[in-house]
Symmetry: none
Subunit: 122 residues, 4 copies
């Protein structure tokens, strides 16, 4: 992974570590980051982004907890061997989002027909 793939928004409420975490997670789900691929080292990414190494560490820790990456001492961090589940989870998550949005539109008076029409125009 190249450092430039991470873009931070310093305004807004989302913590930096979470932005890093989510962007890497997204790249994995999209297949842009391949299994076993190396990630930049904590200090390299931190230095590139101009943030504290602890912040990058925190992001990597969360990703490791989700089994999306593995840390190999003295070698660095790598995308896990198997990230299929991650992809499936991400898809479910988005569908759940979709469901909630449509529910809300209905409560706001939009009919199922109108909603489908708009969606098919995307």
């Amino acid at each position: 992974m190249r450092c430039e793939m991470i873009v931070l928004d310093y305004q807004g409420r989302k913590p930096i570590y979470q932005q890093i975490e989510e962007q890497i997670e997204r790249y994995i789900a999209l297949g842009i980051l391949k299994e076993q691929e190396a990630l930049p080292s904590i200090r390299e990414l931190a230095s590139y982004l101009g943030v504290n190494p602890n912040t990058v560490k925190k992001a990597y820790d969360f990703l490791e907890e989700k089994k999306l990456i593995v840390t190999i001492s003295t070698k660095g961090c790598f995308i896990s061997n198997d990230v299929r589940q991650a992809k499936i989870d991400k898809i479910s998550e988005i569908y759940e989002n979709l469901r909630r949005n449509i529910e809300e539109l209905e409560q706001l008076g939009e009919t199922k027909e109108e909603i489908f029409k708009r969606i098919s125009e995307f």
Copy 2:
């Protein structure tokens, strides 16, 4: 508006003032709160919810900024005269959300057909 219409979740990361704000916004969008209708006074709602008046005031301030309510000093706070635009904006916002979600699903390899199928099952 009756105080009981607001329900707080003291756990979770969402600030209290934002919970109040979002619930009132939602009631307005749904038409449950009518134009010109009075809101509970800051003190009354704060005391009912067991929170500080400043917290309620902050919620009301944000709603006023969005032109959803007007506050008349020494009289109280009221739903705005014309709340149609707010409803339209809310609907657009959700559709935009929907669009982004579907786009992302496609990037994750889901076909339009699969997506439509899932949606119609909701």
Copy 3:
């Protein structure tokens, strides 16, 4: 004076009594309200505007203090016999405003020439 000549803005920070006071003062300076002319009674104006009589009373009191109106018990309130001074004061006040505005424009980098040009285009 007719009650409809007073128009209130319930939003905004300016107190009601002060809005009433300033509008009457302005009408006097402009010569729309003539010397010796009768004002509406406190309760009449209050009832028309939908405000508390105390609020109108406060406005009238301030005007009386400035010698712009006189209260004659059991008869009502009238514009004073001589309001020339009021007019002169008002003009001075506006010129002072003008002076401060131009000073500020100069500090913002506008030259005297530019300012004069803009003003003559009004």
Copy 4:
């Protein structure tokens, strides 16, 4: 920005947060505060001025709303990247003021000639 640049008037009706807000806005318009420049931290300014941190925060919040400053959580508050529009708006606002003042003077019987004469004497 140095704290000493803010001077408060504890008498008078103008709220403290608004005094802070207006002075900073003014320094920005005058170019004394440069784009991207750091502001004093909320705590630092509050402590220097002897006011509550919330009061300073309120001023900063309003400035952020006007897009004059940006706040980066855990880093501090900074003048925005592009502040030109703010300056242009400020100038327009003052010219509009000027226009209304002159209009009013004319209604009070002053001729354009008299007005110009007085202005050129400033």
